[in-house]
Amino acid sequence: MNWWSRPAADTQITHGNRLWLYVLSAIIMLLLVAPTLIVVPMSFSDSQYLEFPPSTWSLRWYEEYLGSAKWMRATATSFQVGFLTMLVATPLGVMAAYALFVSRHRATRAIFLLLITPMIVPVILIAIGTFYAYGRVGMNNTIAGLVLAHSALALPIAIIVVTAGLSSYDLSQEQVARSLGATRTKAFFLITLPQIRFSVITAALLSFLTSFDEVIIAIFVSGGANATLTKHMFAALRDYIDPTIAAISTIMVILSSALLLLTQFLGSKGKRN
């Protein structure tokens, strides 16, 4: 039997019968990936205009980006805010996920729902709400304000990722350590944390990316010398189109692809352990 007429599924349908599905899936995957990757060749264009494929090539948009004080300043801000968000959201997320996972208290369900509200509430509301509240306490346009707001967005993601890690880990190991005399804190750091480290790292990377890619809160709450990369990009996309965006986009695509592959690698490693 050749591949074509071999059964593809339990209902004895053949790969030949399924050809339409394979073609359709290939088209949909192309539609998903192509618009993400198209910015790469565009960023090497020599033209002022948005043309694809570019007729002549150059590095001028990268020079423009690297030579612009405004873009460099915004890039530094975005990295700084992303990094600080990661440092806030990861430990807080791990603590909350662990507590909710271990505790048998009646309130855990309600607390869990409260902690994931940033995923449910439309971001525009968080943006204008914090903008208004920060206005009262003078925290608009500050790094600290932006980090705090981004941490709220990153927390549910960190909690969900770490909870998933905990559920594939056998908690009785920690109990063994404690029955042998370790305190709960010691047992956590020596026994549990090393075994859920891959989910903790994934949670950290996702927290960074959540902040780095966030647009709406940044539009409202960040500004002046502390405006983020996404705030400037949004303004550039809405008002005038500057091919420098293609160069910045390419860098962002490379960054997120690298982080994605890293988490996939960690995920498969985590499963093997």
Binding site: I38, V39, L50
Partner: protein, 303 residues
């Protein structure tokens, strides 16, 4: 003797039980106290600002309680149009995501897990890429002299370039692309959990593949599809960036209007009221859905 012994140990057990219970309760509280820092962040960023907006929305011009901000919404036709646009865009995007996402999720769920992981990168890469980058890419692809127009004219689909962006069409294309992973991921997880023996049994009992799919597989995949569609729908209701960029000012959704009110009139009452309506619509959709389908696990990744 035996009786006395048993009685003694029983009362001793009681004694320990009380102490153990106390210790257990203390332990429970000390563990639970670990959520406090996370809760402080949520209270500061979500609860307090949202309560403030809620309060502002009921504040009249004179500073007293009033419903005028809500009353305005029923009076002006512009508000009506914004709600219609928001629902229209959200429903159409959700339908497009189902049409494109279902076949792909099905294809991925049929593959051996190893290969599914590789092809899944096609879903995860856009999911991880900034939505600004993707919105920008569509701006380029859909423009008048963009690759899509050029291609269609070469193939002969249409003669002169048609307007694909800065309107509803562009917004829908961009939003469907951005939302697609949110549908595929929960749907794929639900499909993976379907017992393969079900399809075996269906085939064994004489169902042809089409029958087996529609009468066994599809109903079993429905909870995953509903969960994914709801996530997409709810995210669409509050979407801001893509309609702002790809809609070119012609597609005004609730979020865009909230921003416009604040930018142009600085009317916090009106903006808050609109925000409250958006929040109620979002929560209501999720609440009804949670009632109808038990998809907590699929939605939040936790049983």
């Amino acid at each position: 003797m035996a009786r006395a012994d048993a009685g003694g140990s029983r009362s001793g057990k009681h004694l320990h039980e009380a102490a153990l219970k106390r210790q257990h309760a203390r332990e429970q509280w000390s563990v639970l106290s670990l959520v406090v820092p996370a809760m402080i962040v949520i209270v500061l960023i979500i609860l307090i600002p949202l309560s403030w907006l809620f309060y502002l929305s009921f504040l009249g011009d004179d500073g007293g309680f009033s419903l005028e901000n809500y009353h305005k919404m029923t009076q002006y036709k512009s508000y009506y149009r914004i709600f219609v646009t928001t629902f229209q865009v959200s429903i159409l995007t959700t339908l497009a995501c189902i049409a494109l996402g279902y076949p792909l999720a099905f294809f991925l769920a049929q593959l051996p897990p190893r290969w599914a992981g590789v092809f899944m990168l096609a879903v995860l890469l856009p999911f991880w890429t900034s939505l600004l980058v993707r919105t920008y890419a569509w701006l380029v692809l859909l423009q008048k002299r963009g690759i899509l127009n050029e291609f269609a004219m070469q193939v002969g689909l249409w003669e002169t370039p048609i307007k694909l962006v800065h309107n509803l069409t562009g917004t829908l294309i961009g939003m469907a692309h951005i939302m697609l992973p949110f549908l595929i991921l929960p749907l794929y997880n639900a499909m993976r959990k379907i017992d393969k023996d079900m399809m075996h049994a269906a085939a064994n009992l004489g169902a042809n593949p089409i029958n087996a799919f529609w009468r066994v597989y599809f109903p079993l995949s429905l909870p995953g599809m509903v969960a994914g569609s709801l996530i997409v729908f709810v995210l669409c209701l509050g979407f801001y960036v893509t309609p702002a960029v790809l809609g070119g000012g012609r597609v005004i959704m609730v979020s865009n209007h909230i921003t416009a009110i604040l930018e142009n009139q600085f009317d916090w009452g009106a903006a808050s009221a609109l925000g409250v309506v958006l929040l109620v619509a979002t929560t209501f959709t999720l609440y009804v859905a949670a009632r109808l389908f038990k998809f907590d696990a699929a939605l939040f990744g936790r049983d």
